[in-house]
């Protein structure tokens, strides 16, 4: 299943904490609602993520692409109702992150909340036509377009995947942009020195710098992994005032944990990009030797005994 979660469990054992691990997959073998965890038995919940994938793939008798899509969506919704029921079973304050806030998290409003709290954000717009795009380009010669919601994988009929990541638009490739388009998130392109992936846990920031500029292939989004020469990833210490502002942001969202993306430009300015409350800390923990799995287990153990 998931390595980082396995390690957290091992560390919980190490600290002699009693815990139950509930995997999203376990709901597929649920023996009645009575076997779900009970509020009075639970002191603390750490919610990692929903489910990696459904254990079985449900197929239609007669293959049909559109119907299959509708059915997959239906099954996802079905699953969500059961899954969300868990959030109501256990008191809100027992969750490390408030699951309701987490569920409703909106990329755009988080950006503007961050701005309100004094953090720099790249100039952010939602546009629908080429003309406005060109106008914006007068001020910010490089723009990037990225999904408003989560990043998705498209697959074609042959099973090949296409990642929907960040695209850079400038005068050079503006031709390819249609006159009008679906409302899209457009941001000022930052001439970055490095990116920061920060794991926040109970008031402490664990930051990692990612140098991706050197690698042409990954300039706009480091999720386009380059295996031969992976981006340099090294521990980083955030300046106090940035930590302070980020703390306010986390408090405002009632998050005790999450993964925060920032960017530092050539002049040394910090830009807030986004928060992912499900926080994948494995990718920060290991290269920086932070032992975040241990820290997570410590926080959970301490909160339970407090």
């Amino acid at each position: 299943m998931e390595a980082a979660t396995d390690y957290v469990c091992m560390w919980l054992d190490f600290y002699k904490a009693t815990f139950t691990r509930l995997n999203g997959e376990d709901l597929f073998t649920l023996k009645g609602l009575g076997s779900l965890p009970k509020n009075e038995d639970v002191a603390m919940v750490w919610y990692r993520r929903k489910v990696a994938s459904f254990p079985t793939r449900y197929k239609l008798k007669k293959e049909n692409f559109d119907n299959q899509y509708v059915m997959d969506r239906f099954l996802n919704n079905e699953y969500d109702v059961l899954h969300n029921h868990l959030c109501y079973l256990i008191d809100k304050q027992k969750w490390l992150n408030d699951p309701a806030t987490e569920d409703k998290l909106n990329k755009l409003s988080v950006l503007f909340l961050a701005k309100k709290l004094g953090l720099n954000i790249p100039h952010t717009e939602v546009l629908t036509d080429k003309r406005s795009l060109i106008e914006l380009m007068q001020i910010y010669p490089q723009l990037i377009v990225k999904p408003l919601s989560e990043c998705v994988l498209f697959s074609d009929n042959d099973g090949a995947y296409f990642k929907m990541l960040t695209e850079v638009i400038s005068i050079r490739n503006i031709k390819a942009v249609p006159e009008t388009f679906f409302p899209s998130l457009v941001q000022q392109g930052i001439n970055k020195k490095f990116e920061l992936r920060v794991f926040y846990l109970a008031g402490v920031f664990y930051a990692m710098a990612i140098f991706s500029q050197e690698n042409k292939k990954t300039v706009s989004d480091f999720r386009n992994y380059d295996d031969k020469r992976p981006n340099r990833t090294v521990p980083y210490i955030l300046p106090y005032e940035i930590e302070n502002k980020l703390s306010h942001l986390m408090t405002a969202l009632s998050f005790e944990t999450g993964s925060i993306d920032l960017m530092v430009d050539r002049e040394g300015n910090y830009y807030f990009l986004e928060i992912n409350p499900e926080g994948q800390f494995g990718m920060v923990s290991h290269p920086c030797n932070y032992y975040l799995e241990r820290e997570m287990a410590k926080v959970l153990t301490n909160k339970c005994s407090a």
Binding site: P230, R232, T233, V234, I237, L238, P239, H286, P287
Partner: protein, 355 residues
């Protein structure tokens, strides 16, 4: 002014005449000159311009080449005005949640007695290595794997003599019906039974060598492996014996089956009891920095520190053997690799061990 910042996961080990640059992120190491090390040191306390000013015209070119090399390899980056103080050094802490991580046994068969199984479970040992003298049947393999179902054992490595029953079907069957087998080595095999392809769940090797338990501990460039956790363990602990338990062919519980000291026999002592013995962990924190010769060797953080076979020349004041591993032919003062087994200075120790 410009400043060179070395990435914190670039780990330098200085030897008598050379340095080893270990890239802890990209998992590789390379040998470089002490001269490069000096430049890196100077760049830590001086700007690039200042460092260049130390050199005369001719040497300046060389200094520039070194700097280009460091940048080309992405070992560091340049900042203007000052070093970027927001980049802290990498923490060299090494911790894990296991009391013991590795059990290394010499046995005549693969089947493990119930009492021992229980101890493995109690100690939550994740990795098992079995050196087997007998010729294990397919069923023995399957039983061994099944005995650890629902246990904390993650990997099992086996060294066993090759015998005629081992063919492609045998291995296929193993691959399909076991889940913890990680590495299988069949020794004394003079003709490979089939062409080994990378299709099995485990690594598989047929070797013509007649491996013995005392074949262990050979030091060679090809065994060096740059891996952040391994390097950090070596910096803090003994790179071979830390968190290891050994059981020799007679059932004696030791630090490794080839070590001399016994802490009881599995017939009357449990592993849990044995590791509580005051001397059981005495080698666990002995690092290469304290080992004769190795302490001046650029390979010391990627090398394995064999304590079972040493040159038997030095002891520290706690009585620990701090002599160089016997089966290493490297001399860090001359940078030459020679055959260790014919070295006249090692003959006495070789005889003592009966090798």
């Amino acid at each position: 002014m410009k400043y060179f910042n070395l990435y914190s996961n670039i780990f330098l080990t200085k030897g008598a005449n050379r340095i080893l640059i270990s890239d802890l992120q990209r998992n590789n190491s390379e040998l470089q000159s002490l001269e490069l090390n000096d430049i890196i040191e100077e760049l830590k306390s001086n700007s690039i311009e200042e460092v260049f000013a130390f050199y005369d015209e001719e040497s300046k070119e060389i200094a520039q080449e070194y700097l280009d090399f460091l940048l080309e390899k992405e070992y560091g980056f340049i900042t203007a005005g000052n070093w970027d103080k927001n980049f802290p050094p990498l923490s060299l802490e090494y911790v894990d949640y296991n009391k013991t991580s590795n059990l290394f046994m010499e046995r005549n068969e693969l089947i493990i007695p119930i009492k021992l199984l229980q101890s493995i479970e109690n100690l939550q040992i994740p990795h098992l290595v079995i050196y087997c003298n007998g010729k294990p049947s397919l069923n023995e393999f399957l039983k061994l794997d099944a005995d650890f179902e629902n246990s904390t054992v993650e990997t099992i490595e086996i060294f066993a003599p090759y015998h005629a029953a081992i063919d492609e079907n045998y291995i296929k069957h193993l691959s399909e019906n076991t889940s913890r087998m990680y590495n299988l080595v069949f020794y004394n095999c003079h003709k490979k039974p089939f062409k080994v392809e990378d299709i099995f769940r485990f690594n598989l090797l047929f070797t013509s060598q007649d491996l013995k338990i005392n074949s262990c501990g050979k030091v060679d460039l090809k065994y060096f492996d740059t891996n952040i956790m391994k390097v950090l363990e070596a910096v803090n602990h003994n790179s071979c014996l830390h968190k290891k338990i050994g059981i020799d062919i007679h059932g004696n519980i030791k630090n490794c089956p080839a070590m001399h000291n016994s802490f009881g026999n599995i017939n009357n002592t449990t592993l849990e009891e044995a590791i509580l013995h005051k001397d059981f962990k005495k080698y666990w924190n002995l690092t290469k920095a304290e080992i004769e010769v190795c302490k001046d060797c650029e390979f010391r953080n990627v090398c394995t520190d064999c304590r079972a076979f040493t040159e038997q020349t030095h002891k520290n004041n706690e009585g620990l053997d701090i002599s160089k591993p016997l089966k290493c032919g490297y001399n860090p003062y001359t940078n030459r690799w020679d055959e260790w087994s014919t070295n006249p200075l090692k003959q006495k120790a070789i005889q003592n061990y009966g090798l």
